[in-house]
Amino acid sequence: MSLLSAERAPSAAGSPAEPVLRSEGLHMRFGGVVALDGVDIDVPEGGILGLIGPNGSGKSTWVNCASGILRPTSGRITFHGRDVTGWAPHRMYRLGLGRTFQRLENFPDMSLLDNMLLSVQESQGSLASRLFRHTEHAERDRALSLLEFMGIAALKSERAGSLSYGQQKLADLAMALMANPKVVILDEPMAGVNPALIEQLVDRITELNANGTTFLIIEHNLDVVMELCGRLVVLDHGTKIAEGPPDEIQANEDVLEAYFGR
């Protein structure tokens, strides 16, 4: 049984892209604070969408709602048209949503390889079958390939917690990819990363996107955003203030105001 889903054709340039992930009127409230105030976002299939905005604008909250960690106060989230509002994270994962975290979140006491294997073991089979699946050749092969793709295969037996920051960033992305997700959400992938490694990451993301993986990237590094993203959505104080191709956004008055003030 192949771990990889059927090959997806990258969307032809110029064809209208179906939103694979969409939020409609997403509203999230923490006590007295309104973090998201009716946000509509479409993540086009096969594209790379950038989600930007000043700190505290609600980007991470949106992502947490979409991935199931938070239950939105109101509004809808759909995946390929299917209502997935309030679905638990592991169900979103099984649908094909992967993500990385702003603060590195892996399993520090387990080896890198075990981290990778854990990232995929739940995508197939049942709880019972997993008990007996001791040899995991296909999964190990895939894990090693992904680690090689990221350039960190030599660290496979190291404790994940002992890796350097940059190595963990790469590992994070590798883990998110293990189950061959349709959509990958990257939460500030370039934060604290040196320029050479940024190049590496941009390369990998571009390569993966060329083979059909959809990306949504939260990022503050506007150079990276301009280079990678085909489309941007800008949030400020929990509302969407602009959306469109990068060059349009760059010139948008409201966006400049949000970031830099009047």
Binding site: G68, I69, R71
Partner: protein, 295 residues
């Protein structure tokens, strides 16, 4: 009817004291995620200290009581916080829980081995006597317990809502990271919480000791009661612990009177399990928004 009223009065009197223990418990949890399994044994410690001052040394009761509270604040508040808790906080909740269990075992066996296994009678702060109201007999000490406990809880509420430190404490409990941003020192807040807990425990001990007599193994039952109270009422809110405490007092009183004294805790446990099934955050507890995936 008068029996029922008497039972209810007794329940509320006890309940108000349990409430103090439960509130201290809840405070520790809110501030530092500590589940203090030794709460009941802290009561035993103060009980023995109080007896030592009041009986062995023969000090006047008010002095002995005050001294016991001070000793508690230092020993059970500051010392415990700065030694054990300080080291363990970084390792997470599990070590804290196990350490508090070990502390409980340590305290109990310390008293058996080095002090006495006997029950030590303790003097009451209140005169003996009974007041009759509408055919109901109310003990003076029951009134006294209720009044003292209420005063303590009111004082705590004033502290938490009207003083700067109190507000800082509440802020830290609600959002530790944000509190740190505005300059509140979370470590200091935790220490304050421990001291407050110690004081609450001390007062509860002084009120309860004349009723139960001080003995090494008292702590288990009391600690459990405080625990149940906090869970039933709501771990993460002080008013929850308050309500929980009074409720447990009432349930035990009613249970002992109308069912059987063997099952009085049984009723509490039954209610506990129902609450856990139906409303796990407690009667007045707050539902946490994020899926509970982390400690």
């Amino acid at each position: 009817m008068s029996i029922l009223l008497g039972v209810l009065v007794g329940g509320i009197a006890f309940g108000s004291v349990y409430a103090m223990l439960a509130i201290g418990f809840s405070l520790l949890w809110q501030m530092s995620r500590t589940i203090n399994f030794a709460q009941g044994d802290f009561v035993t410690v103060v009980g023995f200290v109080f007896v030592a001052f009041a009986v062995t040394l023969g000090w006047p009761l008010a002095l002995a009581a005050a001294a016991a509270v001070v000793v508690a604040a230092i020993l059970l508040g500051i010392v415990v916080r700065k030694t054990i808790i300080a080291r363990l906080l970084r390792h997470g909740v599990l070590p804290l829980v196990v350490a508090s269990i070990a502390l409980s075992i340590l305290i109990q066996n310390f008293f058996v081995a080095f002090v006495t296994a006997q029950a030590e009678p303790a003097p009451s702060l209140f005169p003996t006597g009974v007041i009759h109201v509408d055919g109901v007999s109310i003990g003076v000490d029951q009134i006294g317990n209720f009044v003292v406990a209420t005063l303590m809880i009111v004082a705590l509420q004033i502290f938490l809502h009207r003083t700067r430190t109190g507000k800082a404490l509440r802020a830290t409990a609600q959002n530790g990271a944000a509190a740190r941003v505005v300059g509140i020192d979370p470590a200091r807040m935790i220490t304050i919480a421990f001291v407050i807990n110690a004081v609450l425990v001390a007062v509860a001990a002084i009120l309860l000791s004349p009723i139960f007599a001080v003995q090494y193994n008292q702590g288990t039952g009391l600690g459990l009661d405080a625990f149940y109270a906090a869970i039933i009422g709501g771990f993460n809110r002080i008013r929850g612990a308050l309500v929980g405490g009074v409720l447990v007092g009432l349930l035990e009183s009613v249970g002992a009177a109308y069912v059987s004294s063997a099952y009085d805790t049984g009723i509490v446990v039954a209610v506990l399990m129902i609450v856990l099934l139906v409303r796990p955050e407690g009667l007045l507890g707050a539902r946490e928004l994020v899926r509970e995936y982390h400690e």
